[in-house]
């Protein structure tokens, strides 16, 4: 487990919840080590999700983060997203969909040799800003892009 990960986790999960989950047999020991950020993923609000995942919701807009996402999603269930952080010392990244019921889609902790780059596919319930948040030097930076989700004709 790398150092950034531990920092990320420290503020995000009450030890009691993990213990309860373990005794209930819900988590394997491996998962306990990683301690999934339950509160952050269940938060209904972008700021609360960010605070849970990244330790704070105080972000500075940065054009050094490139967020590649379609203008109009062909299918909201599978929206390709690529985030590239051009900020030196990027340690963590979160990708959020503001208007999803629970905005946090995923969080990433990078090792010292890992580039600030993630490409994945996310679900979007409706038209929304996609927000990429990057942590570098303990500070948070973000960028956002609106992705339209439409109701299809025959294809969708």
């Amino acid at each position: 487990m790398n150092q950034n990960r531990r920092v990320l986790l420290k503020g995000s999960l009450a030890a009691g919840a993990v213990g309860a989950a373990v005794s209930a047999g819900l988590l394997t020991p491996k998962a306990v080590m990683a301690a999934w950020s339950k509160e952050a993923f269940e938060a209904k609000d972008t700021n609360a999700a960010l605070a849970g995942a990244m330790g704070s919701s105080d972000t500075t807009a940065s054009d050094k983060i490139k967020l590649k996402a379609p203008d109009i999603a062909e299918n909201g269930a599978v929206v390709p997203i690529t985030v590239t952080s051009g900020i030196d010392g990027t340690t963590n990244m979160s990708i959020l969909v503001a208007n999803n019921n629970t905005p946090l889609t995923s969080s990433y902790a990078f090792g010292p040799d890992t580039e600030g780059y993630i490409s994945t596919r996310v679900k979007m319930g409706k038209t929304s800003d996609v927000i990429a948040v990057v942590k570098a030097g303990g500070k948070l930076y973000s960028t956002r892009k609106e992705v339209k989700v439409t109701i299809g004709g025959c294809g969708g």
């Binding site: 790398n2 990433y108 890992t114 780059y117 996310v122 679900k123």
Partner: protein, 104 residues
């Protein structure tokens, strides 16, 4: 859960680009089964890790908003062709899988 992970990793100029595709339903727990009318229970991957040379190069935490049959790509330096990398995942039900592959 055998063979749920497909992995492609290529090294170029010391930087490895890793792409993986995982066969998983990524069920949110928020929708009903059309036939039975019952809620389909949540079933989604929560953790994905990638190890290289004994170090964790990426630790990912996912919620249920990652698409079905998830795709993940990332890059790290200090890798060369022939190196082993290990990808593993754990879902909310405690199911897990891992795959060790070579960087091309």
């Amino acid at each position: 859960m055998a063979k749920s992970i497909k992995l492609r990793a290529k090294a170029k100029d010391g930087v490895a680009t890793v792409k993986c595709l995982i066969s998983h339903p990524m069920e949110t727990g928020l929708r009903k089964d059309k036939k039975s009318g019952k809620m389909i229970p949540a079933e989604f991957i929560q953790e994905v890790t990638c190890e290289h040379g004994g170090k964790t190069v990426l630790g990912a935490e996912w919620g249920s908003a990652i698409s079905k049959n998830p795709f993940l790509s990332f890059k790290f330096s200090g890798a060369k062709s022939g190196d082993s990398i290990k990808i593993s995942w754990v879902d909310n039900k405690g199911a897990s899988d891992s795959l060790e592959g070579k960087i091309k």
